[in-house]
Amino acid sequence: MPIHDQTYRRYAGRREPGGRAWMVVAVNGIRTIIKKRLFLGLLLLAWIPFVVGAVMVYLNASFPQFTLLSMTAQRFRDFLGTQDFFVFVITVWVGAGLIANDKRANALQIYLSKPLTRTEYITGKLVILAAFLLLVTWVPALLLLVLQVAFSGSFSFLRQNLYLFPAVTVFSFLQVLLAAFTMLALSSLSKSSRYVAILYAGAYLFSHAVFSVIYAITGSTKLSWLSLPGTLNQIGDIIFRLPPRYSTHVVASLLAVAVVIGVSIWVLERRVRGVEVVS
């Protein structure tokens, strides 16, 4: 009897209900990435600003001469500003190949021949990137907030700065969603993750360069919405109740973010398909 007669059996076990495939995609993607030691090193590096912040919180709470180091809205805003660099690096590292590699390996037809919608596939991929980005923005910022409350010994700081929790949350998620959607859209445009990485870096830096040139010529910062980092900075300042650094109306900045995310979703809708039709 051939060996295969002994090994194939019909399956009569349990099947998971539908709508959970995005979690399978996300968990598998996260597992694959954290296996890379170099990436774990990057994550550790991204937590150094948190360690510095935690030390500042401790010194401020323990020694009166360090009152200058007290945690304010500005410090939380600055902390998230510092994390911008890591957000950029992780977005490029993790995000560039998320869809591009699947396209290169013709994996989309495999994915979409399973009971998995395109929305679930994109959600799964988005969660992979967003999870790592939130791990270096939202999570350490919230921990800093918790540390500050814990070390202060009373809830007076929390009562006086109650808006900080939603501010940290809203800004972190905005930062992460903008980066993740933009990167996923670019990743769906090519089969080469290197090309996607260059494209993202180009879009990020070029948009800011255009704004800087316009600012140098006109002296006006009204067009900060042209720059991806500029737009985020402007919205961040408003969210943390700080004086905005540009004269752009916040609605224009929010609209710019909405347009970038909207265009990204449109691109993903067009590019993530089981079959690619070349007209």
């Binding site: 399956y11 099947r15 399978v24 013709n106 037809q109 495999i110 021949s113 398909r273 079959v275």
Partner: protein
């Protein structure tokens, strides 16, 4: 050998699919019964388009499709949980070894993680990749990639398999093994399957029924034996003289006649008439018969007749 399931598993009613302005399927009406059905046709006939439409990858411009009684337009996800698709082109998840890849596909299809892993091992042994299951899929040969595509299509134990050119790029031994597997799945494991291929021997070996597509339209369908016409005899015939003219005369006289690449004609005659009718025609047309050998009807004859090949 167990009896294959006999009800209709896939049905198409007046289905048309177009790529922009180019029609790929034209008003296709076909029924795929249980068991193994071959989807035959030359390159560009619309075979892969039909399978991709059934998967919901392509939306028809008109018509209705059902798989296992479920409407493709409304129940695509439920259908996909019950079918396995082996694509024509190479496809895998980058950076994974075979067992992780197949288990991952099982999980995507709704199997719990533990069951998916167990099934992955079983299925990889079944398709002959047991020893290579911890190797990265990207290092696989073409034949191994075909086998792993079959494994990922099988891992969740589908009710229907769509196999798109499953023997492409395989060496003769690998091809025979793949065909044995397909035959075993259909006839011993009770899995209904649609085998899309342009290779007639593959379809003839594995399938009981056939749907022949040409230029996006169905040109023949039914059980292979019935299409072959078992009540007829076929003769291989070689003549001295103008064979094209003699072939035309035979066709005009009501015989079915296909010329082959060599100078041999395949002529169908009713069993009761036998070779005598051919000798009579040759005598009447003053053509010398150099070679006459009884043969058996093949799927090639069905195919040639269906797509109007001379």
């Amino acid at each position: 050998m167990a009896e294959p399931v006999s009800s209709t598993v896939v049905a198409l009613e007046s289905v048309s699919v177009a790529y922009g302005k180019n029609a790929a399927l034209r008003d296709v009406t076909a029924a795929f019964e249980g068991g193994a059905t071959g989807l035959l046709g030359p390159n560009g006939a619309g075979k892969s388009t039909l399978l991709k439409s059934l998967l919901g990858f392509l939306v028809p411009t008109s018509g209705r499709m059902t798989v296992l009684g479920l409407d493709v337009a409304h129940s695509a996800l439920e259908i996909r949980s019950r079918i396995g698709y082996m694509p024509e082109t190479d496809g895998h998840i980058p950076g994974m070894n075979a067992v992780s890849f197949v288990a991952y596909c099982g999980q995507l299809a709704g199997l719990p993680a533990t069951d998916a892993m167990q099934r992955a091992h079983e299925v990889l042994y079944y398709v002959g990749l047991g020893e290579a299951r911890y190797r990265n899929v990207e290092t696989y040969s073409t034949g191994m990639k075909q086998r792993i595509k079959l494994a990922q299509a099988l891992v969740h134990d589908p009710d229907v398999l769509f196999l798109d050119e499953p023997t492409n790029g395989m060496d003769p031994k690998g091809r025979d093994e793949m065909l044995e597997l397909i035959r075993d799945l259909a006839h011993e494991k009770q899995i209904n399957l649609i085998l899309s291929s342009h290779l007639l021997p593959d379809v003839e070996f594995t399938c009981d029924r056939v749907v022949v597509l040409d230029k996006g339209a169905v040109v023949a369908q039914g059980p292979i034996d019935a299409l072959k016409g078992s009540r007829r005899q076929v003769f291989e015939l070689r003549v001295k003289g103008d064979r094209h003219a003699f072939a035309a005369t035979l066709i005009a006289a009501g015989f079915e006649c296909h010329e082959t690449d060599e100078d041999v004609m395949r002529v169908f005659v009713e069993a009761k008439e036998g070779a005598r009718a051919l000798f009579a025609m040759a005598d009447r047309e003053k053509v010398q018969v150099r070679h006459l050998r009884p043969s058996v009807p093949t799927l090639e004859d069905v195919f040639a007749k269906a797509i109007g090949e001379k």
